[in-house]
């Protein structure tokens, strides 16, 4: 799992809004950074990293919610949640496939049939979840989201001083 980028130079006495601006800006950047290659189901850690980045961004936005203009904040948060949900749908299947493959490998040959059939079902669902994910990881869409969040961040920064 990718470690979150450090937000250096924070101080406890800094205004809440200034901290919000710095943290949320970095977390939004991270989401975009981790979006490369997430549709490749042979490298599932990439999607996991992006999912974690989406969760961190969502959490940071929720912690600092009062620092942002309400209406635009809600729109941005809704988009982050939608991306996180779409990533989660794929991730759930990735994890289940691995768990069942591990379990199946421990079974005697004749007992594997049922588990193998469930793995096939999960692979189909994984593929469907991947198709549904495509629009959510579109570079342009993610860049628009990051830019929208940067505008929110600028407001938070201004309000704090």
């Amino acid at each position: 799992m990718a470690k979150a980028r450090d937000v250096v130079g924070l101080a406890c006495g800094d205004p809440f809004g200034t901290t919000a601006a710095r943290v949320v800006s970095i977390r939004a950047d991270e989401l975009l950074q981790h979006s490369e290659g997430v549709l490749d189901t042979s490298e599932i850690e990439r999607l996991h990293d992006m999912r974690v980045a989406s969760r961190r961004l969502r959490a940071a936005m929720e912690v600092f919610e009062p620092c942002f203009p309400r209406k635009r904040f809600r729109v941005a948060l809704k988009e982050v949640k939608a991306i996180a949900d779409a990533l989660g749908e794929r991730r759930d299947r990735d994890v289940s496939v691995i768990a069942l493959e591990t379990f199946g490998a421990a079974l005697a040959g004749p007992d594997r049939r049922g588990v193998a059939a469930m793995i096939d079902q999960l692979r189909e669902e994984q593929s469907l979840a991947n198709e549904r994910l495509v629009p959510f990881v579109d570079r342009r869409r993610l860049t628009d989201l990051r830019d929208g969040i940067e505008e929110l961040v600028a407001v938070a920064d201004r309000r704090a001083v």
């Binding site: 919000a20 009062p66 079974l107 049939r113």
Partner: protein, 213 residues
């Protein structure tokens, strides 16, 4: 689970004052779920506790440096809870799915046997030897057994982990650190700097800067 609303947050006030209110609310939320979640069958309470632990973890990742060592420890312990409860949740999701699949196969086989019975007065027991899915059940039954046993094992670990956190004072220490900050804020409100005297610079503002991950 919807997060409890944290009231009176002020974007212009210092980070530590606001963070104290958020952390206090999130830790209260986590602790209030524990009594229910410690019932082995309370899957929903356990799921809610996982979400509460996640919220505690993420707020501490960003603001924990304002509350010292207890916050750093609590952040790690929240992650431990989140991971363990997450694995339990995975079992809770997979087990009914496996059971439903077994049930579906049973139904399919019963229909196949019925067709083979044709006009017979009764069903020939020997027909089960030809049930199309007869070799599929065992693996799935074993998977269901494995999930049930693993879930029970994870629950035991969760129970011990929570008891250990409580007995080591993980959450109580964090609450004390946060409450100190909240009292300090109250005091500062009660006795604002008088007259022309400049307010003393806040200790936290003078402290070296930190990084949040």
């Amino acid at each position: 689970m919807k997060a409890r609303k944290v009231r009176k947050l002020d974007p212009a006030a210092p980070l530590d004052q606001n963070a104290a209110k958020i952390v206090r609310t999130r830790v209260d939320e986590l602790r209030s779920l524990a009594p229910q979640a410690l019932d082995p069958d309370a899957t929903e309470a356990q799921h809610n506790m996982r979400i509460a632990a996640k919220r505690v973890r993420y707020v501490l990742e960003v603001t924990g440096f304002c509350f010292g060592a207890p916050a750093q420890t609590a952040c790690r312990r929240a992650r431990d809870l989140q991971d363990l409860l997450g694995e339990m949740h995975d079992c809770d999701v997979m087990l009914p799915r496996v059971q439903a699949e077994i049930e579906r196969l049973r139904g399919e086989d019963a229909r196949a046997l019925l067709l083979q019975a044709a006009d017979a007065d009764d069903l020939d027991p020997g027909l089960v030897a030809h049930a199309p899915n007869r070799t599929v059940y065992r693996g799935l039954e074993l998977l269901a057994v494995h999930l049930r046993a693993r879930r029970a094992l994870l629950f035991e670990r969760f129970h011990h982990l929570w008891q250990a956190q409580v007995s080591k004072g993980t959450w109580a220490k964090l609450e004390r650190a946060v409450d100190e900050q909240l009292s300090k804020t109250k005091e500062e409100r009660k006795s604002p700097p008088n007259g022309n005297a400049d307010p003393a610079p806040r200790e936290t503002a003078r402290a070296p800067s930190h990084s949040a991950s």
